[in-house]
């Protein structure tokens, strides 16, 4: 075994041990109060393999872009398109990154999540196999990356645990689109963990579309450290899966660091969608914004837990959080837990939160102009949600959203 | 009354006032005019003792005492009043309550008996009538939701009630239409007396119709570059400040 292999073996063993001692989170834990995943304890889970038929990918981003494709969490080089990068920079699969000394994966992988240890990320660590690594430094030109996860599952219960690492240093910029797509009715569990370090004037824009299959469980954990004068942006669009939990922890670890987080969630039937966010202001003059909006139909359940924490040294911190949900059917329900935890005095923080039906007057106004009820509702819901997208001006996301939304509305 | 000598002031490490001299006697009205960014508001804040204005050299004597050693409330107690360019909103505190708290604080400072509630209401009513201030405005929170004109009238009302000896008016005419300017101007004019001095800081001379200055100073790039009588104000109205801006540069 090479030293890197040994190190990875140790890391995974620690994951195995740590997970074994705590198990899956329970609803008695404050952070999991509204999301119950104990059903994952039923039956055995096996690591997924490649399915026999793999449909060809439809890429979203055009122009100069690096493309990585994963199928059931396994890197699929046939569909991936990598580009030459200047020395000491890397964008590609995890296994190759491990071999490259200059990428130095072992100094970073596991270190960010260690500070926010959660049993679900321990489970990921225990099963590290594939994933992607982005490590850039001093690349002033923005780099576009698109990751496509084709998640099919297979017969029986399978799971996979993508483990991704992003390190942007010294004024590097990346626009990253990551999509989970799944068309099957297979039961699978997609548990991905991202470790992200954005520092020294760097900028990461992350756009994620969570659209796993009907019987899938999707849990993603993204732990981010944002350094001096750096920016982290994330927009998640969640519409697929039986249960989705999208958890983001952002540490504002430098003076003048900032985070902008947006989320749109669409759920119907008996789907459960959970957005959980912690933004921890640790340094002065750090800024954060959170805007999460969703529409719930059928007997779907939505959960939003958003926390702004301002540490005692973070004077001049500015944090705002908004969560708004429309309930489109009698049985839909929403649990919202916005939270402010403030330990410094020179701060400006706020949160706002609403749940309810669509605006009756607006609905009436549209109908009085001859628009049928169903269409009027769909127009209003789309208008309601698009506020989030307007915060993030990326044309391909807006187009994608439109497609996803139209399809979703038809199913409601 | 007020004597400023070679005043140098820094804000956030940037030199704003660069050797300002001024001599204001009891009962006099002086106008300070100048272009934007010349240091006019800085002067008003230094005089009233706001934090963040660092005096790097020079001195200010007020009634023979070192003004710079005093807290803001001590200056107010000794009769220095600043009419703010942007009066501050204080939600939930009624204007009446604010006025009374201020008036009694100053009376306490001067060793005078505090107002009783009824006397104070009477006293304020007198002043409000002249300034066209309604009872409703006194009930509302200080400056909250006030129009520009209401805010400035409220400043003049406070000035009338607190009976200062030195009034500093910081751009009191800004943002006012002709009618509002007349009410405010007449209000100020009525407060003139033999012992009360005024320092009128302004960009435009129109307020000086109501309170005619004994001296007019032009402030440019942090110091007084020209002094004259009221005619200077009219001259500036025609020529503007461009001349001084070049000179100072």
């Amino acid at each position: 075994m090479t030293p890197v292999d040994e190190w990875l073996q140790d890391l995974k063993q620690r994951g195995i041990d740590n997970f074994a001692s705590v198990g899956l989170p329970r609803v008695l834990e404050e952070d999991w109060k509204y999301t119950n995943i104990q059903y994952l304890n039923d039956g055995e889970w096996e690591l997924a393999g490649l399915p026999s038929n793999i449909k060809s990918p439809d890429w979203l981003v055009s122009g100069e872009v690096i493309r990585l494709c994963f199928v059931n969490g396994i890197y699929y080089p046939n569909y991936s398109e990598l580009l030459e990068l200047p020395d000491n920079n890397y964008i590609g699969p995890l296994d190759k990154a491990l071999e490259l000394e200059e990428v130095n994966v072992k100094d970073h992988l596991g270190s960010l999540v260690a500070k926010h240890s959660a049993s679900i990320t321990e489970l990921n660590t225990a099963n590290i196999k594939d994933g992607f690594v982005i490590k850039l430094s001093k690349l002033r030109e923005p780099i576009n990356v698109e990751i496509l996860n084709i998640n099919e599952g297979s017969d029986g219960q399978v799971f996979f645990h993508p483990r991704n690492l992003i390190i942007l240093d010294s004024v590097s910029q990346v626009n990253l689109v990551e999509r989970f797509i799944g068309d099957s009715n297979n039961t699978y569990f997609n548990n991905s963990t991202n470790e992200v370090l954005v520092q020294n004037g760097s900028n990461l824009r992350l756009y994620r579309v969570l659209g796993d299959g009907n019987n899938a469980t999707t849990i993603t954990n993204t732990v981010v450290s944002v350094g001096v004068e750096s920016v982290f942006e994330n927009l998640s669009l969640s519409h697929g899966g039986r249960l989705v939990r999208d958890e983001i922890v952002v540490n504002l670890d430098g003076i003048g660091s900032s985070a902008k987080l947006g989320g749109v969630y669409l759920a119907s039937k008996d789907q459960h969608v959970d957005n959980t966010v912690l933004v921890d202001h640790k340094y002065p003059n750090s800024k954060s914004e959170q805007l999460f909006k969703g529409a719930l139909a059928g007997s779907a359940t939505g959960v939003f837990q958003g926390n702004i924490r301002v540490g005692e040294n973070a004077d001049g911190a500015n944090g705002a959080l908004t969560n708004r949900t429309v309930l489109l059917s009698e049985k839909a329900r929403m649990n919202s837990k916005p939270r402010l935890e403030i330990y410094a005095d020179d701060v400006q923080c706020s949160h706002g939160c609403t749940t309810g039906d669509l605006d009756k007057e607006a609905l009436f106004y549209l109908r009085s102009r001859g628009i049928p009820l169903a269409e009027a509702r769909s127009i209003l819901v789309e208008g309601f949600l698009s506020e989030v997208l307007e915060h993030f001006d990326q044309s391909y996301i807006t187009g994608l959203f439109k497609g996803v939304f139209d399809e979703w509305v038809l199913g409601v | 009354m007020l004597s400023i000598e070679n005043l140098h002031v820094c804000v956030d490490g940037k030199q704003i006032l660069t050797g300002l001299d001024l001599e204001l006697k009891g009962g006099e009205v002086h106008a300070i005019m100048g272009p934007n960014g010349s240091g006019k508001s800085t002067l008003s804040y230094v005089l009233s003792g706001r934090e963040g204005y660092e005096v790097t050299s020079g001195k200010i004597l007020y009634q023979g005492e070192n003004l710079l050693e005093m807290d803001p409330e001590e200056r107010a107690g000794k009769g220095l009043f600043l009419a703010f360019q942007y009066p501050v909103e204080i939600p939930g505190v009624s204007s009446m309550n604010f006025l009374k708290t201020a008036a009694n604080s100053i009376r306490k400072f001067r060793g005078e008996a505090e107002f009783d509630a009824m006397d104070f209401v009477k006293f304020v009513r007198e002043a409000t009538k002249k300034l066209n201030i309604t009872d409703d405005m006194l009930k509302r929170s200080v400056n909250s939701g006030f129009s520009g004109g209401e805010k400035k009238r409220n400043e003049v009302l406070q000035m009338a009630v607190l009976e200062p000896t030195l009034c500093i008016l910081d751009e009191t005419d800004s943002g006012l239409d002709v009618d509002a300017l007349r009410v405010v101007g007449e209000g100020i004019s009525a407060l003139k007396s033999k012992t009360r001095s005024f320092l009128v800081i302004t960009h435009y001379p129109r307020i000086l119709e109501y309170i005619v200055p004994d001296r007019v100073h032009v402030l440019a790039s942090g110091k007084i570059v020209k002094t004259g009588n009221n005619d200077l104000a009219h001259e500036l109205e025609k020529t503007g400040y461009s001349e001084y801006m070049i000179d100072a540069a």
Binding site: E30, E312, D315, T325, L327, L328, S329, E330, R333, M334, N335, S336, K337, P338, R339, L340, E341, I342, A344, D345, D346, V347, Q348, C349, S350, H351, G352, C353, T354, T355, G356, D357 | S48, G49, R50, E51, P72, E73, R75, A76, G77, L82, F84, P87, V88, E89, I90, P91, G92, V93, N97, F98, T101, A102, S105, I106, F109, S141, Q158, L162
Partner: protein, 486 residues
């Protein structure tokens, strides 16, 4: 330290908490500790019927199996429940005073010193009469205006007296809003409660005067476990106010009360609290642990319960006055000011449980933290499946004074009905520098300016207090923040 300085310092600290004196009165006290025997002792002292003793014992049994809650953002050394007295009563009142003339003059003097009128001819603040029930440690020592109220059919008396005179009412309602095993402190209270007030407003009656209970902890090492029960029958109205103080002591004392309100059809209960228990000194030594369960049930249609609280005292406050909105079109309100200074900790808020149709609730919470204190708003708004067209509006604002305090806002919003709407807004900030400067330019000292701005910040809540108490509360806001600036 020279003697003169020491005296000056003492005078100064007494002024800060002017209710900190001790009344020297002979008390009858149960043996220390908590056991079935003690519960028998209390029940015997109060000459209680058998059902109540059994109810207490059942609560005690449940309590033994329960765990002290640890989810609140408060910290304190573990409480030794065996190291406290659970019953202490002034000896003179053993059989209960027959009339005000029988009350021990020492006690009358105590209440006079506290500014609480126990003579019926005295009129508080010159506005209107207030009936007062004065609870001293474990017993009620005097209740005023009983006869006047009785003419209107209003019952206002110590709960121990109500157990004797109206057992059927007490038995029907006690524990019906806060079940004995609702939580750790409620169970403890159910087992050992000693006194508190009982109010019954019959159908169609608008209570002719404010009712008020004044709670005083006097004895050392004694917990106070009061129990208050207010029942408003159909179409009735009552406004009730409680005040609380305690001597300054270096030991922490436990106050674990339970308050239950029941509003029947179209009835309204307005419940106000000015809580000024001893907060401990500026080093965090001493003070009351105020662990209280308050809950109101809007059982009837169109009923209304409104909680207003001004919380300035106690070393630790743990309380969540709540409304269960069962009746259609019923309404719950919660107005709160919580001020913490020095080492105080407060974890307080409300629960609004919307069950009936067209129910509405409003929450206005203002938290002010100064010194090294910690203040948390914790609230739940729940729209149950049948709460059609129900509405909630919540506004939580926190103000921070100084860099060593903290403020937290933890709301839970659960909606299971699509026609129900919830709206929640919260802000946290410090007092704006320009506001402070503006006030100081007008001649106010920094402390005056802070008191004025904070009072403005709290205005929406303070104006909900009965007028007689609003002025007092405003002063209290200023006093509580003394020493927090400069």
């Amino acid at each position: 330290m020279p003697a003169v300085d020491e005296t000056l310092d003492q005078v100064k600290s007494v002024e800060k908490y002017k209710y900190g004196f001790v009344t020297d009165i002979e008390a009858e006290t149960a043996p220390k500790g908590l056991s079935e025997e003690i519960i028998h002792f209390i029940s015997r002292k109060k000459n209680e019927p058998k059902w109540l003793l059994e109810w207490r014992l059942k609560a005690f049994e449940r309590w033994l199996d329960m765990k002290e809650p640890d989810w609140a953002m408060i910290g304190y050394p573990s409480i030794d429940y065996q190291d406290a007295y659970y019953y202490s009563a002034p000896k003179t009142s053993e059989d209960g005073p027959e009339s005000l003339e029988d009350v021990d003059p020492e006690l009358l003097a105590t209440y006079e010193k506290l500014g609480i009128p126990l003579h019926e001819q005295e009129v508080l603040a010159g506005v209107k009469n207030v009936a007062v029930d004065a609870v001293f440690d474990s017993v009620s020592v005097a209740t005023t205006f009983k006869e006047t109220l009785a003419e209107h059919g209003v019952i206002f008396c110590p709960i121990s007296e109500a157990v004797q005179s109206h057992p059927e009412l007490v038995q029907k309602y006690i524990g019906s809003v806060v079940p004995v095993s609702d939580n750790y402190f409620a169970a403890l209270n159910s087992a050992v409660f000693t006194d508190g007030s009982f109010v019954f407003i019959p159908k169609g009656v608008r209570c002719p005067m404010e009712l008020s209970t004044y709670f005083r902890i006097n004895a050392a090492n004694t917990g106070q476990f009061e129990r208050t029960l207010i029942i408003a029958e159909d179409d009735s109205y009552v406004s009730y106010l409680e005040g609380c103080t305690a001597p300054m002591r270096d030991e922490n004392q436990l106050h674990a009360a339970v308050v239950e309100l029941v509003a029947l059809e179209n009835a309204e209960i307005k419940y106000s609290t000015v809580q000024n228990w001893y907060p401990g000194d500026e080093n965090g030594v001493g003070g009351i642990y105020n662990f209280v369960t308050k809950r109101g049930a809007c059982r009837g249609n169109k009923s209304k319960i409104s909680w207003t609280q001004v919380e300035t005292g106690s070393a630790i406050t743990w309380k969540y006055p709540s409304c269960i909105l069962q009746g259609d079109e019923s309404r719950g309100e919660f107005y709160s000011v919580a001020i913490t200074n020095n080492f105080q900790q407060a974890d307080t808020g409300t629960k609004m449980i919307h069950i009936g149709k067209n129910t509405s609730s409003r929450i206005i919470s203002k938290g002010i933290s100064a010194g090294k204190s910690k203040s948390t708003y914790r609230g739940l708004v729940s729209m149950m499946p049948k709460a059609e067209k129900s509405r909630n509006y919540t506004q939580c604002d926190s103000l921070l004074i100084g860099s060593e305090c903290s403020a937290h806002t933890i709301p839970y919003i659960e909606s299971r009905n699509s026609s129900a709407t919830t709206e929640h807004e919260a802000t946290t900030s410090k007092i704006a520098d320009e506001q402070l400067f503006y006030c100081r330019q007008r001649g106010m000292s920094e402390e005056e300016a802070v008191a004025l701005i904070v009072n403005g910040f709290c205005r929406e809540v303070l104006q909900e207090l009965p007028m007689e108490f609003a002025v007092e509360a405003q002063k209290l806001v200023g006093i509580s923040l003394e020493g927090s600036v400069g």
